[in-house]
């Protein structure tokens, strides 16, 4: 890619930006700048602050301190709508087009061209064609969005950005669901934009792309900027090391309670759930905590949901304690002794309107009813209070509405409700997301305690350090396949390199085949 027309003019400059959320310093005095006509990569692990930074730039979050200069002038956008109008647009990972509208309707949505109060199809069509011409797009303006592939939808979003004369386009993992050919096409478009002096802030996990299309790289770690480098003057090794950092978390010396001599509690063979889970096999033994890690979009959550029967797997074989089971619904999984703490506790884990005790007893209602379905309320209270104490759930009373609890306490309610079903296997999907440090470490203790009592746990997280901390064994997943297995005590760098390398190896394989 040509790097000649990168101007020296700074179109966007971020100075000493800080942003904190309760219990987390998400950004800590971050500096960076984007030059005119530059493709600038923003790299970092999950939770390093990439998305917080972009959200602060476009005004989705308000920064705590620091300044943002756009086109040389200090600015502070109140919302992404405002920044979009002023020329900074974001292409989000999730699609933001209206599926039933046409390409043209979507591009001009919110900025329709009018002549004396009526929509002017003619002017919009003219503008559409001139956009196509100057950037080399090839799309029919009348095609409905839902008929387009993901890649073409990305192109429409880019066109929408260009129609407002965007000068900075932020792309959040734009190739996440694209094939290799589609990615190549996108890179061509990026090169076009660059040649017209448009700057691109490119967020990705895929290092191959970074080296292929970017001019400079900024690496964030734990909310701080680690470094900004010229892409031509660095290599993969250096970048990975910068992302991971040379931190050695001292892993507590826990005594493993995993019993590998016994037959496995669950054995998963060749499970497939397209598009995210291609082919995954593993076993979990009694008293074992199996950590599963991988990047966002690697298929971890989909794997968990398939094992729990939330979405029936396409194919594969699951055996629980030696018996083959058919898990086509959560009811089947619960009967087989499997429990799932879902990734999104608000939308999938809890009924926020419910009083806490009602959430706790929900999956095990059978233990609290007598025929013909009468609820033994006293017994519910006793059990709910017992688990409240056992898990140290902080609340005024079990009659409190669940929505008023803090994230950490809500998560403990989810854990309580599943412990009540006495599962043989507890699957935890990103169980510590969005909760404070203290609650996190309490959850780690709960996991270890469960294992000591002979339960098995699958601990899924994209944060490698916490997986290292609680797991007896770690699987790394990328692109819906197991990329590697590590014993307890493996170094963070090794694990992360495996996770990052996944996509790379996969791309290479595609090229070969």
């Amino acid at each position: 890619m040509n790097r000649d027309n990168v101007g020296s003019r700074r179109i966007l400059e971020v100075k000493e930006i800080s942003k904190s959320f309760p219990g987390v310093q998400a950004l800590d005095r971050v500096d960076m700048d984007v030059r005119e006509g530059e493709v600038h990569a923003l790299l970092g692990e999950n939770g390093s602050g990439k998305s917080t930074l972009t959200k602060c730039i476009v005004g989705a979050y308000q920064k705590d301190s620091g300044t943002i200069l756009y086109d040389g002038k200090e600015t502070s956008f109140s919302s992404p709508t405002e920044s979009f109008r002023k020329g900074i647009s974001v292409i989000y990972q999730e699609r933001s087009l209206i599926p039933k509208f046409t390409v043209e309707q979507n591009i001009f949505l919110g900025d329709e061209m009018q002549v004396s109060g009526l929509l002017s199809e003619k002017n919009m069509r003219k503008r559409f064609h001139s956009l196509c011409e100057s950037y080399g797009f090839d799309l029919s303006p009348d095609e409905k969005i839902f008929r387009l592939g993901v890649a073409q939808q990305k192109v429409v979003e880019i066109m929408k950005a260009l129609s407002r004369n965007s000068r900075v386009v932020i792309m959040d993992e734009p190739t996440a669901s694209l094939s290799k050919e589609e990615s190549d096409h996108l890179f061509k478009i990026i090169s076009q934009l660059k040649s017209k002096g448009i700057s691109i802030l490119y967020i990705t996990h895929i290092l191959e792309e970074v080296f292929r299309i970017t001019d400079r790289i900024t690496v964030l770690r734990d909310g701080r900027k680690v470094s900004t480098l010229n892409t031509a003057e660095t290599d993969r090794e250096e970048i990975v090391n910068l992302m991971v950092g040379e931190v050695f978390h001292d892993i507590e010396d826990i005594s493993s309670s995993a019993n590998y001599d016994l037959p496995p509690v669950i054995s998963v063979k060749n499970v497939q759930k397209l598009p995210r889970v291609r082919d995954i096999s593993f076993e979990v033994y009694p008293g074992e905590v199996l950590g599963i890690t991988g990047l966002t979009g690697s298929g971890k959550t989909e794997l968990a949901r398939a094992i729990f029967g939330a979405e029936k797997a396409d194919s594969g074989e699951i055996t629980v304690e030696g018996k083959r089971v058919n898990l086509s619904s959560p009811v089947d999984a619960i009967n087989a002794g499997i429990a799932l703490i879902p990734e999104d506790r608000k939308s999938d884990g809890l009924i926020m309107l419910f009083e806490v005790f009602k959430n706790i007893t929900l999956p095990a209602m059978g233990d609290f009813t007598v025929t013909p379905g009468l609820i033994l309320t006293k017994r519910e209270y006793v059990k709910a209070n017992e688990y409240r104490e056992r898990l140290n759930i902080r609340l005024a009373s079990i009659h409190q509405q669940t929505k008023f609890l803090s994230g950490g306490n809500q998560q403990k309610v989810v854990i309580a409700k599943w412990l009540l079903t006495s599962p043989k296997l507890l699957i935890m999907d990103e169980a510590t997301q969005g909760i404070d440090v203290k609650a996190k470490s309490e959850i780690y203790s709960i996991v270890r305690e469960l294992a000591e009592n002979g339960f098995s746990v699958i601990f899924i997280s994209s944060e490698v350090p916490e997986v290292q901390r609680v797991s007896d064994r770690i699987l790394v997943i990328a692109d819906g396949e197991v990329m590697g297995e590590f014993k307890r005590g493996a170094r963070q760098g090794e694990i992360l390199k495996k996770a990052l390398s996944g996509k790379q190896e996969h791309l290479d394989n595609q090229v070969v085949s």
């Binding site: 729990f308 879902p342 999938d348 419910f354 009602k358 929900l362 009468l374 609820i375 409700k417």
Partner: protein, 316 residues
């Protein structure tokens, strides 16, 4: 305690009891304006006039709590009333009542099936069955009114136990039973769970489709029951019976604080909602205000009740 906490407590207190407060405030105002209002006869009158909508609204409460909507219950009232009358030519009235309740349950199951298994939005699914059932009523009656003369059957709508009309006793018993089922049984708990968060309920191992269908069955049975009271009260049925009743039933439930998005509600408060609606009509009649104005006022009451909830919910 901090300011916002006081505010949110006040809001939640008002949210819970506003309907009861509104009910008594309105009753007080009306009784000051019309001396007859608080007479025993008038109070009994209000309760009796509320009984048919009130019984129907018990069912609607379950349906709405479970996240559904059922606008076919007005038609179902007509069919139940017509069958309760018509079947008596070939069987004992008591047997006819049982058959009618089963028919109500069956149509409820159909509504539930269409909503949960076929995934038609409940309001549209029941729009379809509403039209179909009304058609069946016309076919069944031939378009003419049906009459019945049976002392045993007439008791349901016209009898007294002591000084209290039987329809009121039936209403109160069914409200008590409905409230008990809602609060104290697995079915009630699951209905709230499904209406509160369907996906979380499913992932908690609840057979969501089955229990959602059951709420519609409850709605169908209660509509059939209201049809039986209707037929017994008038000892006749026209094919037009029950038109618009579904809207009053839904209004009673939402005025009583049943969340339109599901998950929350109370049968007792639905009863108060139904009484409130009847009370407005009653008071306006006593004062002598035009019927047309009553509609406007009723509409405003519905908007005020739901608006209060929606507004505070949106603000968190």
């Amino acid at each position: 305690m901090s300011g916002p906490a006081v505010k949110s407590r006040l809001a939640s207190f008002l949210g819970k009891y506003k309907i009861i407060i509104a009910f008594f405030v309105l009753a007080l105002v009306i009784s000051l304006m019309t001396p007859n209002f608080l007479s025993w006869r008038n109070i009994i009158n209000i309760f009796r006039q509320s009984s048919i909508i009130g019984i129907m609204a018990i069912g609607s409460t379950f349906v709405i709590i479970g996240g559904g909507f059922d606008i076919s219950v007005g038609s179902l009232l007509a069919l139940s009333a017509a069958m309760a009358v018509g079947l008596q030519s070939s069987m004992h009235w008591f047997l006819a009542v049982i058959v009618v309740l089963l028919v109500g349950a069956a149509f409820g199951a159909v509504n539930g099936f269409l909503s949960s298994k076929i995934h038609i939005p409940p309001i549209i699914a029941t729009l379809g069955t509403m039209t179909i059932i009304r058609g069946i009523v016309y076919m069944y009656t031939g378009g003419y009114p049906l009459y019945v003369d049976s002392e045993g059957f007439a008791f349901i709508g016209n009898g007294y136990i002591g000084p209290i009309p039987f329809p009121i006793i039936l209403l109160l018993i069914l409200v008590a039973l409905g409230q008990f089922i809602l609060v104290k049984t697995k079915f009630g708990r699951y209905s709230c769970a499904i209406g509160g968060n369907k996906e979380a309920a499913r992932l908690s191992g609840i057979k969501v489709d089955f229990y959602m269908t059951l709420t519609f069955v409850a709605g169908g049975v209660m509509a059939a029951m209201s049809g039986i009271v209707y037929a017994s009260r008038l000892l006749s049925v026209t094919p037009l019976a029950g038109q618009g009743y579904e809207l009053d039933a839904i209004a009673s439930a939402v005025i009583g604080g049943t969340s339109v998005s599901g998950g929350e509600g109370s049968v007792v408060r639905t009863l108060i909602g139904a009484l409130l609606l009847t009370m407005i009509t009653n008071a306006f009649n006593l004062i002598g205000i035009d019927l047309y104005v009553q509609y406007v006022f009723k509409g405003l009451v519905i908007l005020a009740a739901v608006g209060f909830d929606s507004f505070y919910k949106a603000r968190g």
